[in-house]
Amino acid sequence: MIVMVSGNEALYSNRFKKWLKAKQKVLLLGTLFLSIFLLIWQIIAMYYPTKFLRDAAPIQVASRLIELMIHGDWEGITLVDHTVASFVRVLAGFLVACISAVPLGILMGLREEIYGGAKFIIEPIRFIPPIAWIPLVMLLLLGFSRYVFLIWLGAFFPILVNTMAGIRRTNPTLIEVATTFGAKKRQIVSKIVIPSALPEIFAGMRIGLGVGWMCIVAAEMVGGELTGIGKLILKGGTLLQVDVVIAGMIVIGLVGLMMDWLILVLEKRIFKWRREIRV
């Protein structure tokens, strides 16, 4: 038993060494870029001719992040509370966007006439930024549904457009082969068209998720709830506390990155045959 454990340890140690060797360049470059970025940030905070950036140096922001995590903001709401609230809102909006945009995209991709009829409504709406919807959303919706709607609005169109494009780009040879072998229309759609469009649908979902996170600050402007990273940033802005604003921005970036990574992992597991997917 002891030998087994030691063997496993040796195996893992070797694997780690191999991984480290393979990633050495990336890690080195990553550290270098991060150092340069932090240095530029420090210089801007120190020498930029405004008093408002004095508290925004990397060390102050890091210490504010820790303080927000442990003690919370001036209302005692911790960074974890803010993050969880925003995470759930983005997740809900994104989920609704996936559920609504994917079937609609498939339908519109398959039936040109449906897209032709709907495009006069869908296309102009696509260009209206979520922030422009705020006054209307305030009057039409309440509480949680407001956030979901605004994030849905941001995430819906990238998923819809990518789904439609993926469906239309199905290789005609595959369809012809299936037809030759007597496949029915339903089989062609479920076995060829949709699976071949899935990579693009996932790409749309990743873009949609990013846009969803971008909408969170706008979405959290509308409600009166106290929690949310967007709300924290707005409060920091009102109080001219730039370190709080940057701390919130960092959290949005990190949580968004983590969610994006999860989609990539899911994508990699589903499309094992696609070599271009790297996590």
């Binding site: 903001d73 996936c98 305030m138 309440l142 060829i192 699976p195 009166g224 109080l239």
Partner: protein
């Protein structure tokens, strides 16, 4: 090729599982964190503006637990500005709150069912100019930032222009009042007029100096007020009375214990004590609403198109119908306060 790209049942199950987990997370959060738990007290959803020291009575009462003492479970709803707070009222999101009298009048003119019960603060605005400008007359021809056309501050700036026979360029910062000190420092504007604590913030940071206060422009003018929805006013007069009692206790505390009040407000709003201390002398705290100044503001709002004359043909009748101090007078009498 087709069999290679087709996704199998395990992959489909994975997608479904991911959606299911996400759904459970959302459902759990919604059920646990967004549905208020029963406390035995009367829940009242109270709106206020982020870190606004004009609404100090609310911050003090909340911090001291006076709402609970009067049988109310306060649910805080925080807004970026008065217009958004009024939209919260119209949407049925809040029952009561603190806001500037101008957004309340704008909302009421559009049919919002609202009653103003008492004053929160009076005055509390000032003109802050960049170093080197010490007099209002020196602002002639310069760029002065305001929190937006038709705001109390914009109206007050217009009065200054008239009084001193000067003309300034009004630079509109609607929805971005916190940008005023930043743009004053960078030289985009030469001065700004705003409510506290943005003036105090600029002074404490050494960016500018207060050259004229709203007291100098229109003494004792109304600023923020305590309001309730008409629905609450009609259906729950007991709760409304409790709310007013809490408010009166807070105002009394401010009047009698200024230092303690400033400390509480600094800690509740995230402002530094130095900033709150600097702002404090430029605000006054009384119980009664100054309807006369509200009528002045209302007329200017009509003249600038912020309120339609069709909606408010008579500013005097409109303001008198909006303000109802009967509950306040009863509470003051019961508490033995003569004001």
């Amino acid at each position: 090729m087709a069999s290679k790209i087709a996704i199998g049942k395990p992959a489909m199950a994975l997608i479904m599982a991911a959606f299911l987990v996400a759904g459970i997370v959302i459902g759990y959060y919604y059920a646990v964190f967004t549905i208020p738990k029963p406390t035995g007290l009367e829940p009242v959803r109270i709106g206020y503006l982020i870190a606004d020291v004009h609404q100090s009575p609310f911050f003090i009462a909340y911090k001291e637990g006076w709402y609970q003492e009067e049988g109310i479970a306060p649910v805080k709803w925080e807004y970026m500005n008065g217009a958004l707070e009024m939209e919260g009222l119209i949407a049925g999101e809040i029952d009561a709150g603190y806001a500037g009298c101008t957004p309340v009048m704008a909302a009421a003119s559009k049919g919002a069912e609202i009653v103003i019960l008492a004053s929160s603060n009076k005055e509390g605005s000032a003109i802050v100019a960049k170093p080197g400008i010490n007099n209002v007359t020196e602002l002639n021809g310069m760029r002065v930032g305001t929190p937006g056309i038709g705001t109390i501050q914009d109206i007050l700036l217009g009065m200054v222009e008239e009084k001193f026979d000067i003309t300034v360029t009004h630079v509109d910062y609607t929805g971005a009042v916190s940008m005023l000190p930043i743009d004053l420092e960078s030289g985009v504007i030469d001065a700004f007029i705003a409510w506290e604590v943005f003036c105090a913030d600029a002074v404490v940071r050494g960016i500018g100096n207060v050259i004229y206060t709203s007291h100098d422009i229109l003494p004792d003018h109304q600023c923020c007020v305590l309001w309730v929805s008409k629905k609450l006013y009609d259906e729950r007069p007991d709760v409304v009375k409790d709310l007013v009692r809490v408010h009166v206790r807070a105002l009394k505390y401010i009047q009698e214990n200024s230092t303690g009040a400033q400390e509480i407000v600094a800690s509740a709003t995230g402002r530094t004590l130095a900033v709150v201390q600097n702002a404090w002398p430029r605000m006054t705290w009384g119980y009664h609403v100054n309807t006369e100044s509200m009528i002045t503001f209302c007329n200017v709002m009509i003249a600038t198109g912020k309120i339609s004359p069709e909606d408010v043909p008579d500013a005097n009748a409109f303001v008198m119908g909006l303000v109802n101090e009967s509950v306040l007078n009863t509470v003051l009498s019961e508490m033995g306060i003569s004001a």
